[in-house]
C-alpha cells in the first residue's frame, strides 16, 4: 500500500489509546525504578554543582585553570556548547511546525523541554564566570547612583539580552503548546493532588473552537518568530568571538558556522533523548524507527554543513594569507592542542558517515552511539576554538597553556546534573509527547488511507 510507506505512526491505534498511554506516563508512572536510578545520578551531579559553586563563590575564579592569556576557557566553552544543544529543540518544534513535517509531533515536547534546561545551564555559566556574580545587575540599564549605564555597543552586553530573551520565549512557546495536553491529563486524573496540580496549570482550558482558533494562530506566529530568534541568538554568541580581533575568531564565517554546529549538537542530544525515552516508557508505537531514520538524516545533513564550515575555515585562512591567521591554523592542527582539533574532526565526522546507511539510522543503539560521538566532538570543537586562539598571545612572552582543574571538571559535570534533575522532573510530571498533535497526525494518516 502506498499510503503506509509515508505513515510515520502505525495506524492500528486509536486516538483514545494514544491519549490514555501518554497521560498515563505522569499519572501512572511506568518506569519508576529506572527513573529513580537516573534521578539519583542526576541529584549527585547537582550536588557536585552546588559544592563547586560554593567553592567558586568563596575562593573566586582562580580555582579554575584559566589565567592570562587563556582567560576564557571552560566557562565560555560550555556556555556555547549548552546553548547550542538547546537550539535543536526550538528548531524541531518551530521550524518543522511551519513546514508541516508531522513527524515532529512525536518529538517536539521533550525537545523543547530539553531546550529550556539546556539554556538554563548555558545561562548560568557567564554568571559564574563574572568573578563577582552579585554584580550581575550591572548588566541591566537602571538609574544607578554611579551615573553610568551599560555599554550597548559591546557583544558582551548583547549576550544577556539574547539569552534571557531566548529563555523567556522558549518557556512561553513550550507552555502555550502544553496547555491543551495539561487539560487532557487533568481530565484523566483521578487523584485529588493531580487534579488540583494539573487543573491549575491547564488554566481551565476546555477546547472551545474559538479558543483553538486563536491558539493555532498564536502558536504559529510564535513559531515563525522563534526560528529567526534561534539564528540570531547563536549568531550573537559567535559575535563574542568574531567581533574581537583575535586570529581564529575574527571571521565572517562564524555566525553560520556556530548556528549549524549548534543545530548539529542539538539534534544529537535530541536523538539520544528520543532513544532513551522510547526504551524507558515503551513508546515504540509513537517514536518509531521512521523517526530515527529522519533524525539520522537531519543529523547527517547538519553534520555535513558543519563539516563545510571546517573546510571553509581553512580555505578562508589560506586564501587570506594573514600571517597571524596562518599561525593559528598551524597551532590548531599541529600545536600543543592538535589532539583537540583532530579529536573534534574524528568524533564529529567519522562515525557520522555510518548514517548514510538506512539500516544504521533505523537502529536505536547505533543512532545513539553516533549521537554521543557527535556530542563529544562538538564539545571538543568549542574547547578547541577557545583555547587554541588564546594560548599563543600576540606577545610571545605571554604564551602559556591551559589545563582544566578539578573545579573546572566538577562544575562542568555538575551542570549535567543541573540539566538532568529538572528534565527528569518534567518527564515525570507532564505529558512527554504532545498528545493532541499526535492524535491529529494519526487521524490525518487514517484519512489518507480511507480517502
Amino acid at each position: 500500500m502506498t499510503a503506509s510507506a509515508t505513515d510515520i505512526l502505525p495506524t492500528d491505534q486509536s486516538i483514545g489509546d494514544v491519549s490514555r498511554q501518554l497521560t498515563g506516563i505522569p499519572l501512572h508512572f511506568p518506569a519508576r525504578r529506572q527513573w529513580w536510578i537516573a534521578m539519583a545520578v542526576a541529584v549527585a551531579l547537582l550536588m557536585l554543582f552546588i559544592v563547586s559553586v560554593i567553592e567558586l563563590f568563596t575562593r573566586g575564579v582562580g580555582i579554575w585553570g584559566l589565567n592570562v592569556p587563556v582567560t576564557w576557557a571552560f566557562a565560555i566553552h560550555n556556555y556555547v556548547w549548552w546553548l547550542g544543544i538547546g537550539h535543536a529543540g526550538t528548531l524541531i518544534s518551530a521550524l518543522l511546525l511551519l513546514t508541516g513535517s508531522e513527524w515532529r509531533n512525536s518529538l517536539n515536547r521533550f525537545a523543547e523541554t530539553m531546550t529550556l534546561f539546556a539554556v538554563v545551564c548555558a545561562g548560568i555559566y557567564p554568571v559564574l564566570h563574572l568573578g563577582r556574580p552579585w554584580y550581575l545587575y550591572w548588566m541591566f540599564p537602571y538609574p544607578a547612583t554611579m551615573g553610568v549605564w551599560p555599554q550597548f555597543r559591546s557583544p558582551l552586553e548583547w549576550d544577556i539580552w539574547a539569552v534571557l530573551t531566548y529563555l523567556s520565549v522558549s518557556v512561553l512557546f513550550w507552555y502555550t503548546g502544553l496547555i491543551p495536553d495539561l487539560a487532557n491529563a487533568r481530565d484523566r486524573a483521578t487523584r485529588r493532588g493531580w487534579q488540583v496540580f494539573l487543573g491549575i496549570l491547564a488554566l481551565g482550558w476546555r477546547g472551545s473552537t474559538i479558543h483553538w482558533h486563536r491558539w493555532s494562530r498564536t502558536y504559529r506566529i510564535m513559531a515563525a518568530i522563534a526560528v529567526p530568534l534561534v539564528v540570531s541568538v547563536h549568531s550573537e554568541i559567535s559575535l563574542l568571538f568574531a567581533a574581537s580581533q583575535l586570529p581564529g575568531w575574527h571571521s565572517t564565517l562564524f555566525p553560520p558556522y556556530f548556528v549549524l554546529g549548534a543545530a548539529f549538537s542539538g539534534f544529537a542530544v535530541v536523538s539520544v533523548i528520543a532513544v532513551a525515552l522510547r526504551a524507558m516508557f515503551g513508546l515504540e508505537n509513537l517514536v518509531t524507527r521512521k523517526h530515527f531514520d529522519v533524525l539520522g538524516k537531519v543529523l547527517l545533513a547538519t553534520g555535513l554543513m558543519t563539516g563545510y564550515g571546517y573546510v571553509f575555515e581553512v580555505v578562508d585562512v589560506l586564501y587570506g594569507g594573514n600571517p597571524h591567521d596562518l599561525q593559528t591554523l598551524l597551532d590548531r592542527t599541529t600545536g600543543a592542542y592538535a589532539w583537540l582539533y583532530w579529536g573534534a574532526v574524528v568524533f564529529n565526522f567519522v562515525p557520522l558517515q555510518l548514517l548514510w546507511w538506512r539500516a544504521v539510522r533505523r537502529t536505536g543503539w547505533a543512532l545513539l552511539l553516533v549521537s554521543v560521538s557527535v556530542i563529544i566532538g562538538m564539545w571538543l570543537e568549542r574547547y578547541m576554538i577557545l583555547v587554541t586562539t588564546l594560548y599563543r598571545d600576540f606577545l610571545v612572552s605571554s604564551w602559556s597553556h591551559y589545563t582544566p582543574t578539578f573545579w573546572d571538571w566538577s562544575t562542568y559535570f555538575g551542570t549535567i546534573g543541573l540539566f538532568l534533575v529538572p528534565f527528569l522532573l518534567a518527564i515525570r510530571f507532564i505529558p512527554v509527547i504532545s498528545i493532541f498533535e499526535t492524535e491529529k497526525t494519526l487521524l490525518d494518516e487514517r484519512e489518507a488511507h480511507d480517502g
Binding site: 486509536s14 486516538i15 483514545g16 491519549s19 490514555r20 540599564p141 551615573g147 549605564w149 555599554q151 550597548f152 555597543r153 557583544p155 552586553e157 548583547w158 539580552w161 539574547a162 530573551t165 523567556s168 520565549v169 512561553l172 507552555y175 502555550t176 491543551p180 487539560a183 487532557n184 487533568r186 481530565d187 484523566r188 487543573g199 491549575i200 488554566l203 481551565g204 482550558w205 476546555r206 477546547g207 472551545s208 473552537t209 474559538i210 479558543h211 483553538w212 482558533h213 486563536r214 491558539w215 493555532s216 494562530r217 498564536t218 506566529i221 510564535m222 518568530i225 522563534a226 529567526p228 530568534l229 540570531s232 541568538v233 550573537e236 559575535l239 498533535e437 492524535e439 491529529k440 487521524l443
Partner: protein, 176 residues
Amino acid sequence: MADTPYGFVAEFATEDAIVKAARQVRQAGYRNIDAFTPFPLPRLARIMRIRDSRPAWLGLAGGIFGFLLAFGMQAFVSYDYPLNVGGRPLYPLSAYAVVIFELTILFAVLFLFVGLLVLNRLPRLNYPIFNAPRFHLASKDRFFLCIKAQDRQFDRESTARFLRDIGAVSIALVPS
C-alpha cells in the same frame, strides 16, 4: 438560577460527524453555539463562522513596542552617558541591531501569550460546560457541540429532539 440552563451539549464520535452536525445546526438557524474538540479543527471553525485575526495584530503591536523600547533605551543610554570608543559613532544602528531584534521578538511573544489568555478569558478554572456528564472526554477523543440557552431558537424539547435527530451519541442539559 436553576431554571435557565447553560445549554444543550451533544456528543459526537468522530471529526466528520461533528463537522456535519455543526453544518446542520447552522442551517437550522442556531447561532449561539460552541464546539469542544480534542485538537484544533479549522473546518469546524469555518462552518461556525469563527474568525479572529487579533492575535496577529497583537503580535505586531508587541513587536513594534519592543522595537521602539530597545531603540529608545539604547539611544537614551548613549545620550545620557556618551562614551567615545575610538571615535566610533554614538548612535550606530548596526551595534543596536541585536538588542533591538531580541526585544522585538520578546515583546511580540509576550503580547501574543498574554493576548491569547485575555482573548480566551483564561485562566478560568470553572465553567458551566464542565458540568456536562461526559465532558471529560472532550480533551481525549470525543467531540462536543453545544447550543446555548441564550440562542433565540433554544427550546428544551425541540432542541433536544433536533440534536438527537442529527446523530448525537449522547445529549445532556448543562445547568448554568
